[in-house]
């Protein structure tokens, strides 16, 4: 099937030029054939997808604007009746009783959920190798990682099996795999999109994000799922702008800040070249490029590590084998049942739970968690100051292109450094987007734009303007 935009599919189905069922069958057939190559799906939701597609086709008024648009969903977002594992053995047979709010809103707009994508266990990782199922492979080079944690969703869009996919973000888990797979990835302001039904990992940072093959599709999708939800007390009452409309403007007069000092070290040459060229393109189009300082962002990954471990250890205490999920067999008493059930977690999850337990324990709380929350306040303050002078901040999304499978698996600190340019937006709670900005040795590079809280529209405007000026979002990996 020819690659098509989400909004074009939605229009064609709504106008009865094609049927949701035809689109659905074509998608399911591709998933069947290609999942084994990339390990990017954990569950293909045949029944639910077909039922939904046929309901759309028989509706008197076909829903808009996503009628019949196939969408893949990261497997840490709950789907009623469809297994939701968070890529963990602890939830390997878990079938939720309810849909996440984002699923309800997408379906109301006509979307068809076609499957649940592979990821790092409980979204803990930057490579989608920490999955209890299999490591996700990058479609540009099967010996390399897809990025993570939402790697499966990135691959589903990169291969154009679906035009849109949902992921989740805690420190770059949508933007980084988007960059490494050559697609658009977006993370909203903290509180912009309801988390009801998202399996909790780090409550002060987790957000649901969106992957798409182009900026306008992503903007339209975000417009559908954003907005207050009474079932998520952290979701904001702020009005949602018309994000799709914002993609029509050019970049003239846009002030773009570049934190040169932050980018001085650790950047792969090919990534630096692609990034510098993207700034040239924007400058020629009429944007103003300004130097900004984000002096504390160099501590983003260490600050992030502490906050993440603390909150993860607390959130994952709910997996005890009592109410749902897997229970280890053969335990002689309750204590042993807990410990053996939780032994089913993978290594990265265990590491984070133990260190989180450590940094929150008496005598260490001030030195780690409290200290990290203070540095976090400084990271946020740096952005506030930068945004007094610029509209968006630009950096590469990832310091490197996709690395080899296994390369960082036994070296957790190296893995954490993959989030060097993404984690600060999560710590600050502000929105950010990654758009394809070229290639380095045949591997995709992403340009990251970070914006003021609640000003997603500005990000979509800037990203769409850049996209129109360059050929990169049209690029697809060889079939």
């Amino acid at each position: 099937m020819k690659a098509r935009r989400a909004l074009d599919i939605g229009r064609a189905v709504a106008n009865a030029e094609t049927t949701a069922s035809a689109v659905c069958e074509a998608t399911l057939e591709r998933l069947e054939h290609e999942t084994g190559r990339f390990n990017h799906f954990i569950t293909v939701a045949h029944e639910r997808a077909r039922a939904r597609a046929s309901a759309i086709d028989s509706a008197a008024d076909r829903p808009r604007p996503l009628a019949g648009v196939p969408i893949a969903v990261k497997d840490n977002i709950c789907t009623r009746g469809v297994r939701t594992t968070a890529a963990s053995r602890v939830l390997s047979d878990h079938v939720p009783l309810y849909d996440a709010t984002v699923i309800e809103r997408l379906e109301a707009a006509g979307a068809v959920i076609v499957g649940k994508t592979n990821c790092d266990e409980f979204a803990m990782g930057s490579s989608s190798e920490h999955s209890a199922f299999a490591a996700v492979r990058n479609p540009w080079d099967l010996s390399r990682i897809a990025g993570g944690s939402s790697g499966g969703s990135a691959v589903a869009v990169a291969t154009r099996q679906v035009p849109l996919a949902l992921g989740s973000e805690t420190g770059g888990s949508v933007r980084q795999p988007a960059a490494l797979c050559g697609v658009v990835g977006f993370k909203p302001t903290y509180g912009r999109i309801s988390r009801y039904g998202l399996i909790a990992f780090v409550s002060s940072m987790d957000q649901i994000g969106v992957f798409g093959a182009n900026v306008r599709d992503v903007a339209a999708c975000v417009g559908i799922i954003a907005g207050h939800d009474p079932r998520d007390a952290t979701s904001a009452l702020r009005p949602v702008d018309d994000y799709a409309a914002a993609t029509g403007d050019d970049s003239r007069g846009l002030r773009i800040g570049v934190p040169r000092a932050l980018l001085a070290e650790g950047l792969e040459n090919g990534v630096r070249d692609a990034f510098d060229e993207s700034l040239n393109v924007l400058r020629r189009d009429g944007a103003e490029i300004v130097d900004v300082e984000l002096p504390h962002s160099r501590y983003a990954t260490s600050t992030y590590a502490i906050v993440v471990m603390a909150e993860a250890s607390s959130n994952l205490s709910r997996f005890d084998g009592v109410r749902y999920g897997t229970r280890a067999t053969g335990a002689m008493n309750l204590e042993q049942m807990y410990s053996r059930t939780r032994a089913l977690f993978g290594h990265e999850v265990k590491r984070r739970i133990m260190l989180g337990t450590y940094v929150l324990s008496a005598g260490y709380y001030d030195a780690y968690y409290l200290k990290a929350q203070k540095v976090r306040a400084l990271i946020r303050q740096d952005f506030d100051r930068a945004f007094e002078r610029v509209d968006v901040v630009a950096t590469p999304t990832s310091p490197t292109t996709a690395f080899k499978l296994g390369e960082r698996l036994e070296n957790p600190v190296q893995m954490y450094l993959a989030d060097a340019f993404t984690a600060s937006a999560n710590l600050a709670g502000i929105p950010a987007i990654s758009v394809p900005c070229g290639f380095s040795s045949g591997l995709p590079v992403g340009l990251q734009l970070t914006g003021r809280a609640w000003e997603e529209a500005m990000l979509f405007r800037a990203a769409a303007a850049y996209e129109r000026l360059t050929p990169w979002t049209g690029q697809m990996p060889a079939a």
Binding site: T189, S204, I306, F345, Y358
Partner: protein, 100 residues
């Protein structure tokens, strides 16, 4: 700067209710030390006089809903998800806690 001993790793695993294999104990003792040393980079930042970040980073004006009774999940469906439950009395079941 403090680091982790093998005994501390065992203590953390016990506190977090994680049964570890011998191999994991060795591996994690090394890796958790490395991660802790990495995390300690935050100490290079002068944070005197800084108030820690608020829990709601972007001041989304998180709101509480009215304290009204609303439908929640169906009890029978919830119990059907449990590894072990007594559906008639509406209880989750776990292994024995006390000796008789």
């Amino acid at each position: 700067m403090e680091t982790l001993t093998r005994d501390e790793v065992l203590r953390l695993a016990r506190l977090a209710r994680l049964e570890l294999t011998d191999g994991e104990i060795e591996l994690f003792t090394r890796q958790l030390r490395e991660i802790l040393a990495f995390a300690q980079q935050v100490n290079a930042v002068d944070t005197s006089g800084i108030v820690e970040a608020s829990p709601d980073p972007a001041t989304g004006q998180a709101t509480l809903r009215d304290d009204a009774v609303l439908p929640s999940l169906n009890r029978a469906e919830v119990l059907a998800l449990a590894p072990d439950a007594d559906r008639d009395s509406g209880l989750f079941k776990v292994p024995r806690v006390f000796k008789r």
